[in-house]
Every structure is written in structure tokens, then in C-alpha cells.
């Protein structure tokens, strides 16, 4: 989500701009907290399967690290491709 999606925000009176900007900020915070929760859930589900101890073992911990890192890289790549499609700059079929 980026602020540029509200194209006409510049034309607003000062107080509305402030309100809109606050609203966008709060939606972004909410969105990133949800993303955090869903990332934790996904990596936990994929990496943790035994419950014989209370603490993560080494293998689980490194699985979690790779999962989170991989998801973030994936998410960034999706964001780039998505932005290209939004702007109509995507390349023809390959």
C-alpha cells in the first residue's frame, strides 16, 4: 500500500490532507501488524511439528529464519511485478 494511490490528495484542503494521511498511516500500521502475524503463523506451521520440548531446536530455528527471509524476498518481488502491472509497463508474454 503506498500513499500515491490517492491521486488527488494534493488538491485537498490542509486539514483533510492531514486526516487522509493519518488514515493511510493507520491502515499501513494495521496492515504491517497483520503481515507480521501471518508470517509468524506460516513459518510456524511449516517449520514446527514436534512438541517434545518447550523450546525451538536449532533445526526449527534455522527453518524459521529461512522461511521468514524467503517470504520477505518473495513479497518484495511480488510488489515489484504488481507495480509494473498497475503502471502498464509489464513486458509481453514469455
Amino acid at each position: 500500500m503506498d500513499k500515491s494511490m490517492m491521486g488527488d490528495i494534493d488538491a485537498m484542503p490542509e486539514e483533510d490532507k492531514m486526516r487522509m494521511s493519518t488514515m493511510i498511516d493507520q491502515l499501513q500500521v494495521r496492515d504491517s501488524l497483520r503481515m507480521y502475524n501471518s508470517l509468524v503463523e506460516r513459518c510456524f506451521v511449516d517449520c514446527v511439528d514436534t512438541f517434545r520440548r518447550k523450546s525451538l531446536d536449532k533445526q526449527e530455528e534455522s527453518c524459521i529464519r529461512r522461511c521468514a527471509e524467503k517470504f520477505l524476498k518473495h513479497s518484495m518481488r511480488v510488489g515489484m511485478r504488481f507495480a509494473e502491472l498497475n503502471q502498464g509497463t509489464a513486458t509481453p508474454d514469455t
Binding site: M1, M5, M6, D16, R19, M20, M23, I24, L27, D31, R34, M35, S38, R42, D46, C47, C63, R65, R66, C67, E69, K70, F71, K73, H74, S75, R77, V78, G79, R81, F82, L85, N86, A90
Partner: protein, 88 residues
Amino acid sequence: MAANNAQAAAQAAFEKDQMFGMAANEMEYRVDLFNRLTQTCFNKCIEKRYKEAELNMGENSCIDRCVSKYWQVTNLVGQLLGSNRPPM
């Protein structure tokens, strides 16, 4: 006169609330679309044993095509639903 002004102000405040509500809906829609696309293409393209933290070449090209196809499906379903607005 004063009452008229107050009424007009209330009406203006109401319309502004409406506009902000619509903008919030629009933003939530885009975030929801992006999140579903991200989750779906992760499920379709990423090897779940997480042997390494990097995306490999196969995963990268799968992601690009997945995003592209998902976009097309969004447009196609939009047409079927009779909305002639683009997904964005």
C-alpha cells in the same frame, strides 16, 4: 440563518465522512488483493522445506508468471461480475 449554516456544516461533515469511508474501502480492497496474491503465489511457487533463504531461478520465474496470471484472473472475474472498473 444560523440554523441553516449549522445544517450545511453538518451536511458537509457527513459528505466528508462518506468520502473518507470510500477511500478506506478502496485501500482495504487493494491491500487485500495484494495479500491474497502474495500468499497464493507463495503457495504455488515456493519450495516449503526452506533449504535456503534465497529464491532460486525457478522460483523467481514462477513468481513473475504467477503474478501475471493472477492479474489476468482478476480482470477476467471482474468482467464476469459486470464491473467495468479495472482491478486497480
